[in-house]
Symmetry: C3
Subunit: 269 residues, 3 copies
């Protein structure tokens, strides 16, 4: 007898945790399916910051089991004509406003189909024009955990929105130019340069090739595997999601180096 499936819904929002917004969303889900397991990714996305939400989701969604429903509510255009969407990939479901917040997902997952959320019998009525997270996205997610077919939530669309995701570029043979995409709680500067972007260079120069990292005005020569590797000043390493990052052991690299999110960061062999 197969083990009973536990329905899982993750939440990534900019609601903060001071107000009752997150609680209201969870209440709606649980009222529909009390067996749903709700997991907070974060509620501290800066207000309306699609790129930050996209990055945060992208660095965690794959640890969840197949068929997890990832709910993302960073929704500056709530109540306007922007649609809500359900994205069905080979491994997961994603429910979000159609504002590009899932752009990283479209690159990482094989997208089977995208539906526009229009079937209002799955909604909490009347819908507040300012809180689709509670009234449209959450109940749709909850009904899906009860076995509703993705095809039932609304018509399939193909013109879903993407936002420009900053991509690193290869300059010459030995340099990759990117930028600081995220600064974490510790002040570590995480770039958009993935270790995969360095592979072609390693293939040419050999696995023993070395590089340094330039971020803002700082040249980082200490490339390590871990935060504690010996160097006292700034270090570079491949972080836990595979991106080149700059850190300072026991310090806050953002504050110490004065390099903020968006600052140019490049890898030079």
């Amino acid at each position: 007898m197969p083990e009973e499936r536990v329905p899982i819904i993750t939440l990534t929002t900019d609601f903060g945790t001071r107000d009752s917004y997150v609680g209201a969303v969870k209440g709606v889900i649980i009222a529909i399916n009390p067996h749903a397991k709700i997991v907070d990714i974060t509620h501290e996305i800066p207000r309306g910051d699609l790129l930050e939400a996209a990055f945060t989701l992208q660095t965690s969604f794959e640890t969840f089991p197949p068929r997890t429903i990832h709910l993302v509510v960073v929704d500056p255009g709530v109540g306007t004509s922007r649609r809500g969407i359900l994205v069905s990939t080979d491994n997961y479901y994603f429910i979000a406003p159609d504002n590009g917040v899932l752009s990283f997902i479209y690159e990482r997952e094989f997208v089977n189909r995208v539906m526009s959320l229009e079937a209002d019998h799955y909604w909490r009525l009347p819908v507040s024009p300012t809180f689709h997270g509670r009234d449209i996205f959450a109940p749709t997610a909850a009904w899906m955990t009860k076995g509703v077919d993705p095809g039932n939530v609304g018509p399939e669309i193909t013109d879903f929105k993407r936002i420009e995701v900053p991509k690193p570029k290869l300059v010459g043979d030995k340099q990759v130019e990117g930028l600081v995409l995220h600064v974490d709680r510790f002040g570590n500067l995480i770039s958009n340069i993935h270790e995969q972007h360095l592979e072609p260079i390693f293939e040419k120069l050999g696995a023993e090739a070395t590089y340094n990292v330039q971020v803002g005005d700082t040249t980082v020569k200490a490339v390590q595997k871990t935060y504690e590797g010996g160097a006292e000043g700034p270090i570079a390493l491949i972080g836990s999601s595979g991106y080149v990052e700059v850190a300072i052991p026991k310090q806050d690299a953002e504050k110490t180096l004065g390099a903020k999110r968006g600052a140019p960061l490049s890898v030079q062999f």
Copy 2:
């Protein structure tokens, strides 16, 4: 065969999330009933702020399924002679100190009975005089999810405490005067004027009647349905809990307008 009921307990506290207080409360609940589903509303109520706790609970409790137990621990008088209470309404249970923090609930729900928490065989003993949340309220809630009858937790009382909830008032035929009751994470100024308070005026003046909103020194003429409606400056709208609110698209209205919680806010037709 009816589906097994999932017992649900929500938490609204001023404990913060830095210390072990919330964890200790959850441990106590789970040790009594590991099947209880615990949902955080918030732990960031300002210290001892009964009105803020009351508002936060009031804007989320109704999304939860019937028979949810809402546990509220904002308890500046912990250990003094103030009682702990269990409030049983037609739809929910509420467990809290008897300090008025449930005052909004008494207005919204039909209260069946209120019990004073005195049956110490449901408590964690010895009770710390400074942490009734952990030692009295949490275990009582957990035992109730195991089927304990509300009548068993202590004697019924009728003199439970209410705090003054600021009420809007109708001034003349065309004006409602209230105040800013809550400022949310985004800096939106949420008043105590509910859309129901405007209905009598709409009935007289017709559904097409228009109004503006005065908050502090600012007159807000742009009354919209959503945050993104065109106007650049301050806007007014009916928020997701039905209250008149003043916001500024992509800005923090509290900071920009200098209007704080408690500031007068009125609606003028």
Copy 3:
């Protein structure tokens, strides 16, 4: 028929809640055992602060039911040669880096055995050198909830690390000298002097003996049972975990008294 056991895993980390680190850890656990109940103690331990993590865990772990797995990830040496460990006590399991963060536990619980985490078939591979929380500790905890025997996660060790836990000392017959071990959200100054440390003095002087508390430059004469006991200025009391603490009703004692964590605090009869 015995009730089905609910597997419980608690989390105490310095990850913060802004990034996706906590979400990634939870995803890993749930992917292995979706029935695991995950409870956050806190994620706001100051970066790498072992003593704070130890104190936070120590003031909450005992409220959880037997066989709970307490996962502690405050791990400044991640990726270096420091080991990961599983500590099995009479009542609980603890999984953490072997950096002394469990030092309080070694004093409070009867330790049956300590295993070094080496069985990498329970890990998430490839292991990131900077995120053992996600790749080693979390999956090991999750597999244990599936019935893996502690003896299988790696070899038993006896040289696990302890950190110096600041201990109060008896000075003469009537004085106990300690320090401020933790400042909570409310600014209450919680010391390392437990009520048990005062018992020998009470035994000598009688149960009616009185004392005052000195913290920094302040002498606190009002020793109360609760925060609200009458006095306006600083008060001392036995807090909810049994430690002598100094507070000021409705104020932040840390700010008002200028006494920080680490400040000397003594009890004088």
